[in-house]
């Protein structure tokens, strides 16, 4: 048995060592570097006007993109799991497309459609609507990259749920909406919430697509991740690290939410 125990320990050390080198040490390093000169410089960096604006802009964009993706995500999940129509495979592929596209390519594609010289460019200019180089473009970019999550998380739950309860409700005279609102939605709510958390994490952290459509307007079209890059490029490492730590804390918050929810949805501890 001792050989077994030794092997077990060895495997554990290998796994933990890998994680420490790849994950633990770098993250620890960033916290150390940020706070090594004390709290004050970090606080003033984080409360700089552009930093504050970047923070609120990030939240604003997420507050629009995630609900849109939630509503449409549930709709897509329902279509795929309860609907019957030709082209389900295609719909699934379209939903999954953002996984296969680099964020930089998402930005490019959006410019090709909504930019001044893009497909809709003339119509948008005539009507005085600015999408690219403005907040709406960034919202769209964020929505695209975080599109699949709610749908993907809701689908398995819908499938497991089965249609029995829904059928029963319908035979009892409930309308389609009532069935959805009172039977389906409560049953899938943890899947939806988990999808929302994933979607939010992805949206908050989006960088590549947004950097192409943003126009770099300080205090207007800089999200927090873009702000990190801006500070870095201006050799303001304190500012960059402070914003990075803020984002890391938001990420950790998301992780905690994910952890708690995993146990709810899976009905057992995840480890």
């Amino acid at each position: 048995m001792s050989a077994n125990a030794a092997r077990r320990l060895g495997v554990r050390m290998l796994a933990l060592g890998y994680l420490a080198l790849l994950l633990g040490a770098p993250v620890g390093m960033i916290f150390y570097r940020t706070f090594e000169h004390g709290l004050a410089p970090v606080w003033s960096a984080v409360t700089a006007p552009n930093a504050e604006h970047a923070f609120w802009l990030s939240l604003e964009i997420v507050a629009i993109a995630v609900p849109l993706n939630t509503i449409f995500g549930i709709g897509m999940a329902l279509l795929l799991e309860r609907g019957r129509f030709w082209g389900k495979g295609l719909l699934g592929l379209v939903i999954d497309l953002p996984f296969a596209i680099s964020p930089v390519v998402v930005g490019l594609a959006l410019v090709l459609v909504y930019g001044k010289t893009g497909w809709l460019g003339d119509w948008l200019t005539t009507n005085g609507i600015q999408i690219i180089f403005s907040v709406p473009g960034m919202v769209i970019a964020t929505a695209v990259v975080s599109l699949p999550f709610v749908a993907r998380e809701t689908m398995p739950v819908l499938r497991e749920l089965g249609i029995d309860a829904e059928q029963a409700a319908e035979t009892l005279g409930a309308s389609a909406w009532q069935t959805f609102w009172r039977v389906t939605l409560p049953a899938i709510r943890w899947g939806v919430v988990y999808g929302v958390v994933l979607s939010t994490a992805r949206a908050l952290g989006e960088f590549g697509a947004v950097s192409i459509v943003s126009g770099r307007i300080e205090g207007q079209t800089q999200t927090l991740p873009l702000y990190v890059q801006d500070r870095f490029e201006n050799f303001d490492s304190t500012g960059a690290y402070a914003a990075a730590v803020l984002l890391a804390l938001l990420a950790l918050g998301t992780l905690l939410a994910m952890n708690l929810l995993t146990r709810r949805t899976r009905g057992r501890t995840a480890s």
Binding site: T125, V135, I217
Partner: protein, 337 residues
């Protein structure tokens, strides 16, 4: 079969509100605040100077009540963004061709540079940045082609400002009395010593500071700014070097053109030019006390003496036939444009 019940309408209303909110954000982004707002789009280097210039302008009678939005990035990219719809009232770019693009797009009037300073707001010179202490004892262009010296410059096909560097080196050879053919040989030797070409001047500086290479060709104002920030560098002004001239222009089609012109006038005024000089940029008007600290290289020349940007771009940087293109290709470096 589906009844459109109340809740469905609620969803439709909610979605319309969301779309409306987006629409408002789109239209409203350019007109916020009680006073006028000017959109400044500039290349990356003067970001720190505008941090002083803008508040200073706002204390003047012309600048009262004016607020600014600022965007900084690589000069060529900024120029293209403005062409593509990035809102701008004032553009301050790294080199003249980037403004010419805007003239071609109908955004800037063709007489933008018909003024006392020919459209330029600041000058600088091409310098060689070296490590503190100058361990390789680099004093001029000829040291850069010595064997073993690692040179950094941005890629002139992605970075407009890199073209100043190349033409500085080339023009210096002509100044020293070489023939064009010999000057081209120099360029070839120079590129042979280049250890990496980053996509932008900013990136090249980062690479240099990270420890690669022995010499970085850059602008004097960038070198001064970084030295002040405490980077472990110093810089050498070669005897023969090019005068870098940075243009500024008002976007004529904007509603704030008059206000924008006032801002540009301020930047060209003694008060404005003094601030520029204090931050390491050579003034374009005379009589600025702070300008005294800038040494005048004995062999200073301008791009005009080399034929002007239009001719130079064609001769040196044309994607298929340019002199520099051919040199880069023979060394296996990207000339993809």
């Amino acid at each position: 079969m589906q009844k459109v019940t109340m809740p469905k309408r609620t969803i439709a209303v909610a979605l319309s509100l969301a779309v409306a909110a987006l629409g408002l954000a789109a239209c409203g982004s350019s007109s916020s605040g009680s006073g006028k707002q000017l959109a400044l789009v500039a290349y990356s280097t003067p970001q720190g100077v505008f941090e002083k210039l803008i508040p200073a302008f706002e204390t003047t009678p012309e600048g009262k009540g004016v607020s600014f939005s600022q965007s900084y990035g690589p000069s060529g990219e900024q120029s293209r963004s403005v062409v593509n719809g990035l809102h701008a009232d004032v553009v301050n770019l790294s080199l003249e061709p980037d403004v010419t693009k805007l003239v071609k797009a109908g955004l800037v009037s063709s007489s933008w540079n018909a003024n006392a300073t020919d459209g330029f707001v600041t000058d600088s010179v091409a310098v060689i940045i070296v490590r503190k202490g100058n361990p390789e004892h680099i004093t001029g262009w000829s040291d850069l082609i010595k064997p073993g010296v690692g040179v950094l410059t941005p890629n002139p096909f992605t970075s407009g400002s890199a073209r100043w560097n190349i033409m500085a080196a080339y023009g210096a050879q002509l100044k020293e009395g070489k023939t064009p053919a010999q000057a081209q040989e120099y360029l070839k030797a120079l590129f042979g010593n280049v250890v990496s070409q980053d996509s932008s001047a900013r990136n090249a500086l980062q690479t240099f500071l990270a420890g690669r290479g022995d010499a970085l060709i850059d602008y004097e104002d960038e070198a001064i700014t970084d030295e002040k920030k405490g980077a472990a560098i110093e810089y050498v002004i070669p005897n023969d070097t090019i005068l870098i001239q940075n243009p500024i222009a008002v976007v004529g089609t904007s509603a704030n053109a008059a206000e924008a012109q006032k801002f540009v006038s301020y930047l060209l005024s003694p008060a404005g030019q003094t601030i520029w000089a204090e931050k390491g940029y050579r003034p374009v008007i005379s009589g600025i006390a702070a300008a005294a600290k800038f040494p005048t290289p004995p062999g200073l020349f301008t791009i005009q003496s080399l034929g002007g940007w239009k001719a130079v771009t064609k001769q040196f940087f044309e994607p298929e036939t340019g002199i520099v293109t051919k040199i880069e290709q023979s060394l296996g470096v990207s000339t993809a444009k």
